[in-house]
Each structure stands twice: as C-alpha cells, then as structure tokens.
Symmetry: C2
Subunit: 293 residues, 2 copies
DNA sequence: AGCTCTGATACCGGCCCGGTATCAGGCGGT
DNA sequence: ACCGCCTGATACCGGGCCGGTATCAGAGCT
C-alpha cells in the first residue's frame, strides 16, 4: 500500500461533510466524475468501503466515520506544518496568542503588560476568536499559544500550564429578581422561568434541542442577556465584557474554572517557552472574585 | 497558497534526514533531479528557504528544522488515518495494546486476565516494542492504546489515565558490593566506580557522550547488567525481566514512576473506552515494592 | 412514460512527475 | 594547474494521472 495524498483526504472530507458528490465537487471546484473516481480509488487503496452510495446521496460507513475524524486531524497537521514553517521563515515575526473574545481580560492585560516590560520577551500579536475556535486555530498553526478554560474547552492534544483558578458568576439581565441577590447556587440558576440557557452549535454546526435561544457569538449572547432573554454562568473574570444592563452574581457551588495557557506539544520553540514562563509568573495573583466593598 | 501534498513532505523529510539529495533520492527510490526540483518547488511554494545547499551536502535552515518536526507529525497523522480506517473496516478486529517489552508485566497480566473474564471486553492483541517506540506506534495508528511510564516516556499529545504508582529499584549485577544492601539512595547509585549508566540513543539515532555502554534494546541492557558492565534504576515492576544474575535493590529516594494507559485523543472509540475503563479498574492494586520476607 | 436527481462510465487533453543526459563549481590529490 | 570526483542544478522528453465534457443507468415522483 503506498501513501495517501492530502488531495485524497481533502476530497473525502468534502464528500463526507456534504454527503453528496455533486455538492462536494462544487465546493472543491472540480467536476463530479473525477471526484467519484478519486473516492473510489481511495476506497480501493485502503481496501475499505467508506461510503454507502444511495439514490439520494451518500452515507458514511463505520470506517468512513473513522476516516473523517482522522483525515480532519491529518489535514490540520499538514496545514500547521505549512503555516508554522512560513512563520519560522519570517525572522522576528510576532507570536500569535489566541483567546476567546472577552475571556480572561484582566489576565491578558497583565500578561501583555509584563511582556512589554521585559526587554527579551518576544512580540505578541493577540487574535480574538469565538467560543471553541481556539483549539482549531492552535491545531492548524494559525496561532502559537492560546488562553483556554478548563473544563470548558477541549484541551486534548495540547500541553498546558494552569494560570488562574476562579469561581463562576451568573450573568443576569439588570432588573431580574435574581439580580439583586448576593449569591446564587447552581440549582437556583438552572431552570429559571423565562430565562432558558442559550444553546451553542455543536461541532457539526447543528444546534441541540431545547428552549433557549440559539447563539453563535459572544456578542449575540451578551445582547440576549441585556435583552432579558437568557442568562449564563461564566468564569468570574469574564465580567470584563459586562454591559451596563448586566448584573453579575457569584454562583457559590459552580465548579471552578481554570484559565490555562496551551500550546501544541510539537512547537516547543524558545519564544513559546519564554511566553509560557512569563505567563506562569502571573500565577496566584488573581483579583478577588467579588468586587470590593 | 494551495495545499501541501504528503509526497512533498516525504521528500523533504528524506532530504532533511539525509542532508544529502543523492542519498535521499536513493532512499525514496527516485532519481536526484526530480527530488531537487520538488524541494525547490516546495521552498518556492512556502516562500521560505528550507535548506542551505553546499558543496558537501545540505544543511537545515531554521524554517527547515521547523518543517522537519512538523512534517514528521503530519505524516504520522496521515499514516494514522490510513491505518485506523483500515482497521475500522475489519469488523471485530482486535485492539492493539503496545508496551515496552518487560515493563509493567504483572499489571499487563492482570489486565489481560480481567479482559478475558469480561464477556463484553474487546479482544486485545499485545505488541511489545523497545524503549521509546510506543509514542510513535500510537501516533501513526499502529496501536490503539499503550502502557507508558511517567516521567520516562513522552506523553505529550495523548490522553492518559494513571494506573499504578510505584517506587524504583536499582538493578545490579549479582555479586557487586552494592547488591547486598537492603536499600540504596540515588546519590549512592550515581557514579558507582566501574558501573557507568548506559547511554540510550537520542531521537536522531546518535548517542550522547559519556563513559557508559551504548544500548538500543532492553535485552542488550539486561545482558550488560548480568555481565557486570552497567547498572540501571527502573520502576519496581520491571523486576519481571530480572535475570538470575541480577539483583534488585530499592532506591528509596528515586522519583516515583507512574504507569499510565495512553491513547490518541482522536480515537475515542467504544472499544478503547471500554479497555481504558477495565484498566482503570485495576488501579490501587499494586503489588508490594519490596519482595515479601 | 417521462422528468429529475443521484452517482457511474467513457474518453480525451494537458499538466506534472519522474527518468536520462548533462552542466557548473568547489575540493583534493599527485 | 590539471583532472577526477563529488556535490546539486538544468534541460528535455515521455508517460501517467488528474480533471474536463458527454453520456449512461437506475430509482423515485408526478
């Protein structure tokens, strides 16, 4: 058996995602017949049936599901190789640090402040992304390091260093009965009448069933809270993006949220190591969870 | 910029490892001119110089070193995609568990025993490898799970579950003065006259400098100990491969060794999950470190 | 039956990969 | 200084494979 080419993997991923040869071909910018042939060759090469063709499209076999998952990871690795190599070519390129927009704002500010003061520190470019995108940007080489949050983000496959452990708060619309409380419990927050928890898209882009509004970005979420349509429980440091119409109330029994700095285990460059060291130096200097007074 | 193909990565890795276009071409089974052209195209495509050509061969640039590391990881991921897909095609294929030959022998025996008794457990094929090979076999899809040892093995990029924490022992030639001791300390074991620590090959195949003998396999090592040429400090459970000519003495202040079960984060199949669960069920049943009596 | 939508097949042209032959240049030996 | 020798680079050619167009085959629907 000789080696797979990324072209074959890209073609397969397109078909597996569209479950339709014609649409996949359009997405790839080629015609349908060569695509059918390529998939057939791939199946023959691997000796495994990947798709069950049908009059109304195609369906993944068990092996096809495995290959879809593996192929995505492999393509990310190849893309990462290209991106990281190109960035290694630019001498004195900045490191890219990615974080969820709005999360861990104080920590990030302090980190950037420390780096600005240190003469030897590498320049850092901050890339803000939406929820759940950090892992992909880190995996495919678009970013060098990420601030992520345990237990919310998927940290598998990364090296991490804990930076900050904090409690969580409920973010409520100002004026809501619960907003005047000093503290809340998870049981009180769950199933609040008229304030269902918002629903995030799954990895495949579909939404779970439920009563809450569908959201895709944090600004959508922030506005929905301000409009009195939903509430959320988030790490205390996310208060940074609190609106005037928001009220934050500590949730005393919520699991602790840990902010970590994460990087791909393969990229152990001096610059990344230095950045991680600077970040680790901030550990234990968490601001108080409750506002003073 | 369009996409890299694995062919280009394989070619580059060959050249980067050989540092010689001619030898790399032989290894790849192609002629030298197309290889030179392919590398040149790759450099042009990435917009980065990867190799400094020279009258006596080639040398990696900084970007080249990055690409070598990344390309190896990417090629492993692609190979893993192929292997895992093929194995997914065989219905009721056994899971492959890889471990260092001789390590954690009792734990492995107990694990296999438990799995044999459980009716729903997946069949397991055991693959024994040499030191440091587990990570690669796991990464490239040749194995589904591995028994590895912290802090000795490189666990980056894998999900793990701790199975067994144990002390370490010194394995000495029978008849050596230290062999009659009840226990030893690291300081005593270090720099024993006439018993230098053996040297293992680095990732690139070269050996570090030092007085000890060069070894590549555990059986070489075992024999060298029996011959009175070296000593080693290993987890207590590795006594399983103790020879009659070996004597094991606990090293009281050696760092603890943890046996973990590891698997690629991408392969979260039911079978792997079930195997990990069975293995985790053995936790805390470590045999005593000191032989009874 | 006929339309439509699916993927499969047939065939052809162009590109790119890989081979052979050759070149260019630095180094070492006598 | 000459000549081999080794390095990678260049030139050119042939074939295979990829991708395009045209067409087929079969099932569901009206």
């Amino acid at each position: 058996m000789d080696h797979l080419e990324t072209r074959e993997l890209r073609y397969f991923v397109a078909v597996a995602e569209e479950l339709h040869f014609g649409r996949a071909a359009v997405r790839l910018g080629i015609a349908q017949p060569p695509l059918s042939r390529a998939i057939r060759q791939l199946e023959h090469r691997l000796g495994v049936r990947l798709l069950d063709r049908d009059r109304r499209g195609a369906a993944l076999t068990g092996a096809g599901e495995v290959l879809l998952r593996e192929a995505r990871a492999a393509l990310d690795a190849v893309a990462a190789a290209a991106r990281r190599t190109q960035r290694a070519g630019d001498s004195k390129r900045p490191l890219v640090l990615v974080t969820k927009a709005g999360a861990s704002h104080e920590l990030l500010q302090r980190l950037l402040g420390v780096l600005a003061d240190e003469p030897g520190a590498p320049p850092v470019e901050v890339l803000l992304c939406e929820v759940g995108e950090q892992a992909r940007l880190l995996r495919d080489g678009s970013a060098d390091v990420a601030l992520m949050h345990r237990p919310f983000d998927d940290l598998t496959g990364f090296d991490t260093e804990d930076l900050l452990v904090e409690g969580q708060i409920a973010l409520l619309p100002a004026g809501h009965p619960l907003a005047s409380r000093d503290q809340l419990t998870l049981a009180e927050v769950r199933d609040v009448p008229g304030l269902p928890i918002a629903r995030w898209p799954r990895l495949d882009g579909s939404y779970p069933d439920g009563p809450g509004p569908q959201v895709r970005t944090q600004s959508q979420l922030a506005q929905l809270v301000a409009l009195g349509r939903t509430l959320l429980v988030i790490p205390a440091s996310s208060r940074a993006w609190q609106w005037p119409d928001h009220v934050a109330v500590p949730v005393v029994d919520a699991p602790e949220a840990t902010t970590v700095i994460a990087w791909p285990p393969s990229s152990r460059s001096r610059e990344v190591a230095s950045l991680v060291r600077s970040a680790a130096g901030l550990r234990g200097t968490a601001p108080p969870v409750h506002p003073p007074g």
